[in-house]
Symmetry: C2
Subunit: 139 residues, 2 copies
């Protein structure tokens, strides 16, 4: 007999994998690359960010990120602006177009969330939210 922890582990992985597939399908559909949308998603959620920080969140080297951001600047999705107190650093910021893409993508996520928790009561939704908040806080 498997423990609750074991089962919890596997449903978490399963959830991760399904979300991952979903994201991939949605992104391909829009004609953007996964790293590009991922970058938009992070910038939209966190606001302007330094290259270093952004690279860590995405999980690539800064070298890789530089070329990624170059492309996104050309597409007018982001701009680089100087960091006010550290002139080595650069802040990457969504343009209004970038923000639009973020909102559009976020709306799809919201729709998915609605579908996934359609059978939840309001109380259950609130509990689920609470659990996820606590889990995220531990990461």
């Amino acid at each position: 007999m498997k423990s609750t922890e074991d089962k919890l582990n596997h449903v978490m992985v399963e959830f991760y994998e399904k979300l991952s597939s979903w994201e991939q399908a949605v992104v391909k559909d829009k004609g953007y690359s996964l790293p590009l949308v991922h970058t938009v998603e992070i910038l939209g959620g966190h606001g302007p960010m330094r290259m270093k920080e952004l690279a860590e969140k995405i999980g690539v080297t800064t070298g890789t990120l530089t070329v990624q951001i170059d492309k996104m600047v050309n597409l007018e999705l982001v701009t680089r602006k100087p960091h006010e107190s550290d002139r080595r650093s650069i802040l990457v910021e969504l343009t209004s177009q970038g923000h639009e893409l973020y909102e559009e993508h976020d709306a799809l996520h919201l729709q998915l969330t609605g579908e996934l928790t359609a059978k939840f009561s309001d109380e259950e939704r609130a509990q689920f939210l609470n659990f996820l908040q606590r889990v995220n806080a531990e990461f």
Copy 2:
């Protein structure tokens, strides 16, 4: 004021992103590529699978998967075996070495799960499990 649905959406995305970073860090540490470990993870969780099915789960074309599986066959992590009823199809199956890698990786996940839910009561863990099962079922 943001709705519960909105917040739920964002904590779900946050959870996904954190898990994604964690996975990336763990995998790089082991010297395997992300797609390789992802493949092992899926095969370990679901058992032997057809190329088509596996490609869909991972979110790549079958062409990409063929070369991925070629590599993994060379590393002796998986084998190809004929599908019993459809001779066009091929089943990809973990070798004992592949299964070992799966177990090893799964143990890391289990440890993470333990850490993330360390402050949960048994009842809360059970509820969380229930929620995730229901969410996964809707996907």
